[in-house]
Amino acid sequence: MFAMKHNRVSNHKDTADGLSPKADGSATRRAWPPSFQIASHPMVAWATVILLILGGCSSYKPPDFKLNLEGRDPATVKPVQREAIEEVLTVLFGTPDDPHVPSGVDLDLALLKKAAGPIGRDFTGNERGLYRKHCAVCHGISGDGAGPIAEMLNPYPRDFRNGVFKYTSVAGGAKPLRSDLLRTLNRGLPGTGMPSFSPLSQEDLAALVEYVRYLSIRGETELFLLRAVVDENEPLPLRKQFVLDEGVRPVDAMWRLAEEEPEKYVVVPQRPRLSPEELAAAIERGKTLYQETRAQCTKCHGPEGRGDGSESELYDDWNKLKKGITEEQTHQLARWFSLPLQPLRPRNFEDGLFHGGGQPEDIYLRIYLGIPGTPMPAAGPAPGTPGVFQSQEIWDLTSYVLSLSHRGTETGRKVADRTGNKLSSESGMARE
């Protein structure tokens, strides 16, 4: 019980400790005063100083992956269950400093090693520890989206462990392609805390993409283990083959789906080139589609697209679990989550600030595929689903949404001033 409590309280500190040698140094300094108290005799003090000189100041303690206890009362996880889960995960996936790839899983170990571990350079001068350098401060060492500064951000950084990613190019809720994750890294997510990492080399970016996939596959395996061991009382010790067959391989298969069957899952926007008259007509048609009841756009985004629809209580899947029916329940639930409840705001199109990107292709994909993990549903066709809108209609809607952007609001004006493109939307869709 003590261990659990400690874990909760020190979530952020744990993560910070692993971030840089400096953080480790400060941890060492905290241990100093007791030795000075004992050191009343000058000899002891000298001995301490000599020992420190010989041993060095840094005592690097490699960080661990934190067990995913989101939404669980830690007291309900028996120590033996916790150990069993942690052990099998370490055997299969290694540690934050030394990642492993379970056999047959589509992950590139060489790239992972580049992203993992403490920040530094190897003997050939190649940079290591890229994830800790660039990502962990928000996304956490474990990829839990609860790094030291996560609480200050809105929306929160992504918790990779659920295997759900918002901005993809794949239908049917399939996992993102490597190129989708790469796009997010390259461009960042405008209007969120996620910056662009485009100055990094292609190889570094590929390493980070691979590491995100690694944390996600590991995270989903962990969720499977928690379900099996804690909720379903799977007999211990766990058999490695069982975890591989029922935990790891199915997750790996989901990640391969869109990469292996792109014709079935991947949506490639083909932007129409429109004359100004055609664009005006498309915007008109889009407006009609937006306001009709087929896809219920106005419910969340409001009649004029200002994000003020009648659905006011919206949460993403990561926050939905924190919401009880009564206020008191919500308060009770808050104990079992790292970050407080955060409501979701439907986009105000007038701001012209789209998290998934403001190009017509981006808006098209958001309408077509929906935004996984949020209430925004997929309006386009997917395997098994005819969809409420077809491609042409989605382009019309895209034109309408973009025609609203950069108008009216303070943010919209700022964005327009900064980009120097007051009607980027229309020029974006129009034939030049």
Binding site: G163, V164, G172, G173, A174, K175, E220, L223, F224, R227, A228, D231, E232, N233, G247, P250, V251, A253, M254, L257, T293, R294, A295, Q296, K299, S310, E311, E313, D317, G370, P372, G373, P375, M376, P377, A378, A379, A382, G384, T385, P386, G387, V388
Partner: protein, 287 residues
């Protein structure tokens, strides 16, 4: 194509079987799916059947509520009031009929790798239907044998509906269905992974709408009907662990059903468990 992959999935399943098999059994195990798959061309490539000699018996019973069931609360209907306001939409988390029967209790075989009898495989429907009707999901509780069945989702209401779910380790869905009558009011969904317990299905437009779905790798599951009765039909011979689950409490803990589990031996005769009493505290009332 059907026959090749059909026999392959059959073989995979039997390789996992614990006891050594006679040569005849092996032949049947690999031969039966081949024959079944070629004789029924409509079958999907992931079809899965086994030798019929395993047929044992059925397990039946009835869940009875002991005590006064709480009144079903009226749910807040504040969206699409023009359409949904006229229905009496009430909480469905505990359904007790006039005779005391408790509906919507899941009972399913928890054991892994249960061989499936041909008769059971052939008699199960290809689709499980989830209807959006009168501004609620119908039925409230569903179960699906994912290797043979797919989920057919349809909207019967004159308003757009949304169906969203995120099964553990499977792909999430967030589907819009256009208002009925009209085009694009239906969808089908296939599951890629079995689940050890049901998950919830929600509608993001109408927060009161809720349903539950259990996805299994075998067809041995039942949901108690309005009168509380259930039947697990055509269980194979063997010792199987059953699991009870109810949406109010998850695993339904009862006397003789520790953690909602009980092991039964199927020898070839039907088993009648009789009336299984549920006290209010068993379903989380008065705690």
């Amino acid at each position: 194509m059907d026959s090749a992959s059909g026999s392959e999935s059959g073989r995979q399943v039997f390789r996992k079987h614990t006891r050594p098999w006679s040569r005849r059994q092996w032949l049947q195990a690999t031969g039966a799916p081949l024959v079944a798959a070629t004789s029924l061309p409509l079958m999907a490539p992931w079809h899965y059947v086994a030798a019929s000699e395993h047929y044992g018996g059925s397990v039946r019973g009835r869940f009875i509520f002991r005590g006064t069931p709480p009144e079903r609360k009226k749910l807040t209907v504040d969206k699409d009031v023009d359409c949904c306001g006229k229905f009496d939409i009430r909480d469905e988390s505990l359904m007790v009929d006039a005779g005391g029967g408790v509906a919507n209790v899941y009972i399913y075989v928890r054991s892994r790798d249960v061989p499936v009898c041909v008769s059971v495989a052939e008699s199960s429907a290809r689709q499980v239907v989830l209807d959006n009707r009168d501004c609620i999901f119908k039925p409230h509780c569903l179960a699906i044998w994912r290797l043979r069945q797919e989920l057919y989702i349809v909207n019967s209401d004159p308003i757009a509906q949304n169906v969203a779910f995120a099964p553990l380790g499977d792909l999430p869905a967030n589907i819009v269905l256009a208002p009925a009558p009209g085009d694009n009011t239906e969808a089908t969904w296939r599951f890629r992974r079995g689940q050890s317990q049901p998950f919830d299905i929600r509608c993001n437009y109408h927060p009161w709408e809720k349903a539950y779905l259990l996805v299994r790798d075998n067809p041995y599951f039942a949901i108690s009907r309005d009168d509380g009765r259930f039947e697990l039909a055509g269980l194979p011979v063997g010792r199987w662990e059953l699991q009870l689950w109810h949406e109010r409490v998850g695993h339904l803990q009862l006397p003789e059903w520790s953690q909602g589990r009980r092991t039964l031996t199927i020898t070839g005769e039907d088993i009648d468990l009789g009336d299984i009493p549920l006290l209010p505290r068993d379903v989380g009332i008065g705690q």
